[in-house]
């Protein structure tokens, strides 16, 4: 079997690919549940319908989707330019560390400026953590896929050191965690009794800004040209280093904001479980959303639902926690596979075609 490029890949299929990937994921997921001895219909209900049965479910969905969508918006800019930042998790952690550091430094403050300062610090922290790979790439041509990923581990270790030594809560029974933040350092709740908070507006604003940026700005056009045809970008005189800096700093910045949103939101302190892998899941969100600011909103909601469903399935069906990762992974896998067949087609090797031609000739 050979793969050969299609002359004109179908535009419709390219847009339909995410839906196709979802169907394939569901199909294989059903087989998986059957193999585990569960009723797939019941399992799907627990996974995808149950979590949305009440207001709390929708609140949790938005709470989880917001950081995913926010991070994916930034990543998508870089992916368009073929700058693959896969360490958004580290930038998220550094955003949380910078923002949380402000909250810890001004523990007793009741100032209305505390939260905005934390948000700003978080953005700077994430952007700085994205700037390091940008510097390494533009100065030393270091592959950003490696440097961003490695820096994610470094960020994790920095967080780990901070919460187990200098920033450890003195009254925290030696758990590796900081003090709980005061009210002035937390996003306020939107609805009584639900965890959804005002940080969701940061994501909404980001979606709008990125939508305008991607569809209207000349800068985004230059970034896209750099990804589609690097030689054309050089020919036109669009500086490649600017694209690298923009991509990595911007995606670091959004991840940093998402980090503040977690520590100043549902987590409420610095500890070792700030993020259930949002930085990595956002890579999938960006791709399933076709790198489009609006598409990312839908894919972010879907990924959040898989998180919620995975948790529900642990309780209701006693499935392992890995179910979330399996579904996320299958989704990306099938999407990429669909993309391959949209861009390429399978061709039978010559021998088989010749045999077929001979067979046709033999017929009267």
């Amino acid at each position: 079997m050979l793969l050969e490029p299609r002359a004109t890949p179908s535009r419709g299929m390219r847009l339909a690919a995410p839906l196709l990937a979802i169907l394939l994921t569901l199909g294989v997921g059903a087989l998986l549940f059957i193999a585990l001895g569960k009723d797939p219909q019941e399992a799907f209900h627990v996974l995808f319908i149950g979590p949305l049965a009440d207001a709390n479910g929708w609140s949790e969905l938005l709470l989880k989707a917001a950081p995913l969508i926010l991070i994916a918006q930034g990543l998508a800019i870089g992916f368009r330019a073929r700058i693959f930042n896969i360490g958004a998790e580290g930038q998220l952690i550094m955003g949380a560390v910078f923002g949380g550091g402000v909250a810890i430094a001004f523990q007793d403050s009741q100032s209305a400026w505390l939260l905005p300062t934390m948000v700003l610090a978080g953005a700077i922290g994430g952007a700085l953590w994205g700037a390091i790979p940008a510097l390494l790439k533009t100065r030393f041509n270091a592959e950003e896929t490696l440097t961003t990923l490695m820096l994610a581990y470094v960020a994790n270790l920095i967080l780990s050191w901070l919460v187990s030594d200098p920033w450890r809560d003195p009254g925290g029974m030696n758990f590796p965690q900081s003090v709980m933040f005061g009210d002035a350092a937390l996003f306020s709740m939107l609805f009584e009794g639900l965890r959804l908070n005002t940080s969701v507006f940061i994501t909404i604003a980001a979606v709008l800004l990125f939508w305008i940026f991607v569809s209207k700005s000349f800068l985004a056009y230059q970034v896209t040209v750099g990804g589609l045809a690097p030689q054309a970008a050089r020919y036109a005189g669009f500086p490649a280093s600017r694209t690298v800096w923009l991509s990595l700093v911007l995606s670091g910045l959004t991840a940093g904001l998402a980090g503040v949103g977690e520590v100043a939101g549902p987590v409420g302190q610095l500890n070792l479980n700030i993020s259930p892998g949002y930085g990595y899941a956002a890579i999938i969100v960006a791709w399933i959303g076709r790198l489009h600011p609006v598409g990312i909103v839908f894919s972010g909601l879907l990924m959040a639902l898989i998180y919620l469903g995975g948790e529900a399935a642990q309780m209701a069906l006693q499935t392992p926690a890995a179910i979330t990762g399996i579904f996320q992974g299958m989704l990306l896998f099938f999407l990429l596979a669909c993309d391959v067949f949209i861009e390429f087609r399978l061709r039978k090797p010559l021998e088989k075609r010749r045999a077929a031609a001979l067979a046709r000739k033999a017929l009267p």
Binding site: L228, Q231, A232, R234, Y235, A236, G237, P239
Partner: protein, 518 residues
């Protein structure tokens, strides 16, 4: 008109194609094509780009399967499913683009293509014998990267000859050769023909075909439009068969305005970025307002490196490139464009245009300076309008401004890119291979456009492999060979012979004075 294939007068035809048709998704590449080639005949297949010549040759060579029609080989009907089968029958083909491994020696390359077991030492002796016998001097132990393009073509030909072919197909073989090398090649081909080898010679160069071939099959739009004895036809009558009308000519009026230097290249030297690149040494040239200066030479002699240095894609030392009196050698392509430089590269898809983007988006690539961007935001309607005007003015055949660049034929995309660059009213225009892949009619239009552009006071620099083209449009011609540039000589003071000699590197190293005085 579909005449029955003529019956050969004497002897069995070597190759007979009967009613060959081949349809691609969007185009009928071959429409009921019939062709007869006799033993020892040099048979031209003449036609413009896109006339279906290459598809027909691929059918013969087994690289493409025809939808309909038959192939007769020495009087027997045959099925040629792949190139290996074609080679087994005794059909050899020399492609326009070579398939050689640069890091291997000549004999190693040949051994690879022969397959099976081989003994390099005895094969090297055979290669020497064959190359001597047919006047194709070749050292079997040299590495391919050190060979000139003409020598590489010899490797390809010798590789075919070692298999004792009865039919040799050559696809545009002279496009990469100096005039002297063309003459040598013709001698070889005539010798082969006298030994009974049939030769199918694909070209669009009328003079060559009239000199070399006894019979010509002319194709247009996938069909055979005529058969002729090229020696009894004039270039004009052959052109009529090929393009369906008279061959257009260019007018080059005298420039009336003030002649001032616009683009000055001073002692430009540069080491190549990769191991197989060409080192540029001490290049000097001045392009003035109102003139077209041509750089002749065969690609691979520093053309790519010089163009990148001039466009700004690879910046050089500050003083080496002067644009309108300002030293810009250190600036990137965007900054040079800001100062009035336009550039058409030889690679259209992926460099001159983004394949997956629409023509409107591709207009933005360099023409964003034409008020297509305000406050950092794109003006979509303005870009569409710019693309639309370019499409109309330069007769770009396409599906409108929203058509993807990759959906255009090479010639039409070239017209779009040239148009986009000209519409930015440059002070200096640099064009590489302006008419590669462009049909005869459009080529004449593009050449005339470049002349007109220069006469409006622009300095135009053209780098081309086509000598005829340079002699048609240039006021002065220089030659780039081995990374060195010969002095630019007024067109009337030189000829193809002298340029051809210079292409082989036989010229005095220019001094800055000699070029400035020109």
């Amino acid at each position: 008109m579909n005449p029955e294939p003529p019956i050969p007068l004497h002897g069995e035809p070597r190759l007979q194609l009967l009613h060959i048709s081949k349809r691609y998704p969007s185009v009928l590449a071959n429409d009921d094509v019939s062709l007869v080639v006799r033993p020892g005949e040099i048979h031209a297949v003449l036609g413009e780009n896109g006339a279906g010549k290459s598809t027909l040759m691929k059918v013969i060579y087994g690289a493409v399967k025809a939808d309909m029609g038959e192939i007769m080989w020495n009087g027997r009907q045959v099925d040629i499913p792949d190139p290996a089968a074609a080679r087994a029958l005794g059909i050899g083909m020399v492609f326009q683009h070579f398939s050689l491994f640069e890091t291997l020696t000549v004999v190693e390359n040949i051994a690879l293509s022969l397959g099976g077991e081989f003994d390099l030492a005895s094969l090297a002796i055979k290669v020497s014998e064959v190359s001597k016998r047919y006047g194709l001097p070749l050292d079997p132990l040299r590495h391919v990267y050190s060979l000139s393009v003409g020598e590489r073509q010899r490797v390809e030909i010798v590789r075919c000859l070692l298999q004792n072919p009865q039919l040799l197909i050559l696809d545009e073989p002279t496009s990469v050769l100096t005039p002297q090398a063309v003459r040598k090649l013709f001698e070889t081909l005539r010798q082969l023909a006298s030994e009974g080898v049939s030769i199918l010679y694909i070209s669009h160069k009328l003079d060559e075909i009239r000199e070399l071939c006894e019979r010509a099959t002319v194709m247009r739009g996938g069909r055979v439009t005529g058969e002729a004895n090229p020696r009894q036809e004039s270039s004009a009558s052959l052109a009529r068969m090929m393009i369906g009308r008279e061959l257009p000519h260019c007018e080059a009026p005298v420039f009336e305005g003030e002649r001032k230097p616009l683009l000055e290249i001073r002692a430009l030297s540069r080491e190549p970025d990769d191991a197989f690149g060409t080192r540029l040494s001490d290049i000097a040239l001045t392009v003035h307002s109102g003139e077209v200066v041509g750089i002749a030479g065969i690609s691979g002699n520093g053309q790519a490196e010089l163009l990148a240095a001039l466009s700004g894609e690879t910046p050089v030392a500050r003083e080496m490139v002067q644009l309108c009196g300002e030293a810009v050698g250190h600036r990137d392509a965007g900054a040079r464009r800001d100062r009035g430089l336009s550039f058409v590269p030889e690679e259209r898809l992926g460099r001159g245009a983004v394949p997956a983007m629409s023509l409107a988006d591709n207009a933005l690539l360099t023409a964003h300076r034409q008020d297509l961007v305000r406050h950092g935001l794109r003006r979509f309607a303005a870009a569409r309008d710019f693309a639309q005007r370019c499409i109309e003015r330069f007769d770009v055949r396409c599906g409108g401004a929203a058509a993807q660049a990759r959906s255009l034929s090479g010639g039409n995309l070239q017209k779009f890119i040239v148009g986009r660059e000209i519409m930015q009213t440059p002070k200096v225009m640099i064009v590489a291979q302006p008419t590669w892949g462009v049909d005869v009619g459009a080529s004449a239009f593009l050449r005339q456009t470049l002349i007109d552009l220069s006469r409006s006071g622009v300095g135009v620099l053209v780098i081309s492999e086509e000598l005829e083209e340079l002699f048609e449009i240039c006021d002065r011609i220089a030659v780039l060979a081995g990374g060195r540039l010969s002095p630019a000589v007024p067109r009337e003071q030189t000829n193809a012979e002298a340029i051809g000699l210079a292409m082989s590197g036989l010229f005095a190293q220019p001094t800055p004075e000699s070029t400035h005085a020109a």
